[in-house]
């Protein structure tokens, strides 16, 4: 009994009639599933206009505008140019864009539309889903760093190999802290609230959280507070690494602390549905 036009599939949809009734491995290895998910998420993110604005366009604008103009007064150490102070802050901005704001909004809407529920029932599972998302954030960051590094180099930025190496643990830990904080927001608040909140927090941290302006240049107590925020710790750490070629003691523990607290809060309060 067919009520629709068009050819009916001749082959069966199910497994039993074609192959042996029981399969030993119905799912590919975990690593392949997670990588497939990460590749998918990376593509979706890089194709999304709003995400690109947040992760690439705005950081590039900030980098060029702040390096080329002196609208904002900056303390530039002797022997350095403006871009040397600006570029590390813009890298921190890029981490915040993709690990925190972009990721939180995407996860919040996936949660709202039941995507987290559905993928939880596939071989990927919940842990594979989260791992895939974090890997996708890292992949997008690689693209961001390549683009922003290229633009900064064109503006005259010449980081040393040592600085680049020292920046890696900061970037990784900063990503962990912001990704966990983003997940915490996405898993506990309504999607619309996350959309508004994650963008607002991003703007506030950029301006007052020690990202684009060093915490030392923020007025009064704000600077001391900002140095203890993940934004200030990450950006100040990156500026020290690139300006002085040395990793200061405080940023890594601050970032590790935020990561631990946010992960623990996620474990306790994150709701899948």
């Amino acid at each position: 009994m067919t009520f629709v036009d068009g050819p009916r599939a001749s082959r069966s949809l199910a497994v039993q009639s074609q192959e042996t009734p029981t399969r030993t491995h119905a799912a590919p290895p975990a690593a392949r599933r997670v990588l497939a998910q990460a590749a998918w998420e990376t593509r979706v993110t890089l194709r999304n206009g709003e995400q690109l604005l947040l992760t690439l366009v705005l950081p590039v604008i900030a980098l060029v505008a702040m390096s080329r103009t002196s609208l904002i007064g900056l303390d530039v150490p002797a022997g350095h140019q403006r871009v040397d102070v600006i570029a590390p802050g813009v890298l921190a901005m890029a981490v915040m864009s993709s690990a925190f704001t972009g990721q939180a909004i995407a996860t919040a809407f996936d949660r709202r539309y039941g995507v987290l529920r559905l993928l939880g029932t596939t071989p990927l599972g919940r842990s594979g889903l989260l791992l895939g998302r974090v890997l996708a954030v890292l992949a997008v960051e690689v693209v961001q760093f390549a683009v922003l590094g290229g633009v900064a180099a064109w503006l005259g930025w010449r980081p040393s190999a040592t600085s680049l190496l020292l920046a890696v643990p900061l970037l990784v830990l900063g990503t962990a802290a912001f990704a966990a904080l983003g997940l915490l927001m996405a898993g506990t608040m309504r999607a619309e609230a996350v959309l508004a909140g994650a963008n607002l927090v991003w703007v506030l941290l950029l301006l007052g959280g020690g990202v684009l302006l060093p915490t030392a240049e923020l007025p009064g107590a704000l600077g001391d507070v900002a140095a203890l925020l993940p934004s200030g710790a990450l950006a100040d750490g990156l500026r020290s690494v690139f300006l002085d070629g040395a990793l200061p003691p405080s940023p890594l523990p601050v970032l590790a602390g935020w990561t631990a607290v946010a992960v623990a809060a996620c474990v306790r309060w994150f709701k899948w549905q």
């Binding site: 009994m1 067919t2 009520f3 629709v4 068009g6 050819p7 009916r8 599939a9 082959r11 069966s12 949809l13 199910a14 497994v15 039993q16 009639s17 192959e19 009734p21 399969r23 491995h25 119905a26 799912a27 590919p28 975990a30 392949r32 599933r33 497939a36 998910q37 998918w40 979706v44 194709r47 999304n48 809407f109 996936d110 539309y113 039941g114 995507v115 987290l116 529920r117 559905l118 993928l119 939880g120 029932t121 596939t122 071989p123 990927l124 599972g125 594979g128 899948w272 549905q273």
Partner: protein, 309 residues
């Protein structure tokens, strides 16, 4: 297909509470390979909660769930790969394009279905590159069904698979479900569509208020709960009290839809005479008066009551 096999799904004494509210109060349920089991019930009966407990989205407060011979709590990726799930809210990412999404999901399985073929079968090829957020409800339903089948599962959960579909798409979905069944797949579907349950299911489980109130083949249910019925249409909201008093008490009398009246039970010629005499006394013309076997809908309304949910 071996003659005797463990049920693909075996639920016993399932209980699920949300705070003070008990959504599921001890449901027993089996689904067998090569058969469609319909979980039929009004809104809020506990159908979706039951499915969510079966597929691991909620943990039961009591009872046991076994899927394909294994306790639900112990299932891993390989077990999940053998179970297909279509949720009521769809669960499709808004930005994704249907065909790309299905290709991606296929990568999560070792031996997936042919994605192009599956998409063509469900008519998804007509909107393959349109973002999910621009699709109609019925189109999304079809993508969600394809997502449930892309891993070529042995057990499939379909939570209201034909809700919001036009008649053509509904029949396509029914054909697909029948084919799954022919191929030996166990299908558990929830519905409040009697026609769907009657046409597809070999076993119907009627749930109400978190409990199983009746269970059996559609034929068994209709024969054991009222052998026949009288139906007619007239003005809506008639006062049926007098008719009720003049008929034997074992008959159930009700207005299934505004203006559609059903007297179900052991209908004999005397009952027909009483009903038509009552109509005459009221000056009513019983339009489309028909005597016949009770339908699953009669049984359902009889068991779950006629109050709106």
């Amino acid at each position: 297909m071996p003659a005797i096999r463990e049920p693909a799904l075996d639920v016993r004494g399932l209980v699920k509470r949300y705070g003070d509210h008990t959504a599921v109060r001890g449901i027993d349920l089996q689904a067998h390979h090569g058969a469609v089991t319909a979980l039929l019930g009004p809104n809020g009966a506990g159908k979706t909660t039951t499915v969510e407990c079966c597929v691991g989205l909620r943990s039961p407060d009591d009872g046991s769930v076994r899927l394909l011979g294994r306790a639900a709590a112990e299932t891993g990726a390989d077990d999940r790969a053998r179970v297909g799930v279509m949720l009521q809210d769809g669960g499709l990412p808004n930005q994704a394009r249907p065909l790309e999404l299905l290709r991606h999901l296929a990568r999560l399985y070792a031996a997936p279905a042919d994605v192009e073929e599956l998409a063509a079968r469900l008519g998804i090829d007509q909107f393959a590159a349109t973002a999910v957020r621009r699709l109609s409800g019925g189109q999304r339903q079809r993508v969600a069904l394809a997502a449930a089948l892309v891993g070529r599962p042995e057990l499939v959960f379909l939570d209201e698979p034909s809700a919001g579909l036009d008649p053509q798409a509904r029949h396509t979905v029914w054909d697909v479900v029948r084919d799954l069944c022919t191929d030996g797949v166990a299908v558990l579907l929830t519905t409040h569509d009697m026609e769907e349950a009657t046409r597809l299911a070999s076993e119907v489980v009627i749930v109400d208020d978190g409990r199983v109130v009746a269970q059996g083949t559609p034929a068994h249910l209709t024969s054991s709960y009222g052998t026949s019925s009288i139906r007619f249409t007239a003005a809506p909201s008639l006062d049926l009290e007098e008719l009720r008093r003049s008929l034997p008490t074992h008959l159930s009398i009700g207005e299934t839809r505004p203006g559609e009246y059903v007297i179900a039970g052991d209908v004999d010629p005397a009952v027909v005479a009483t009903v038509t005499a009552w109509c005459a006394s009221q000056g009513l013309m019983p339009d489309q008066l028909a005597v016949g076997r009770a339908s699953l809908e009669d049984v359902f309304l009889d068991l779950t009551g006629r109050a709106l949910r």
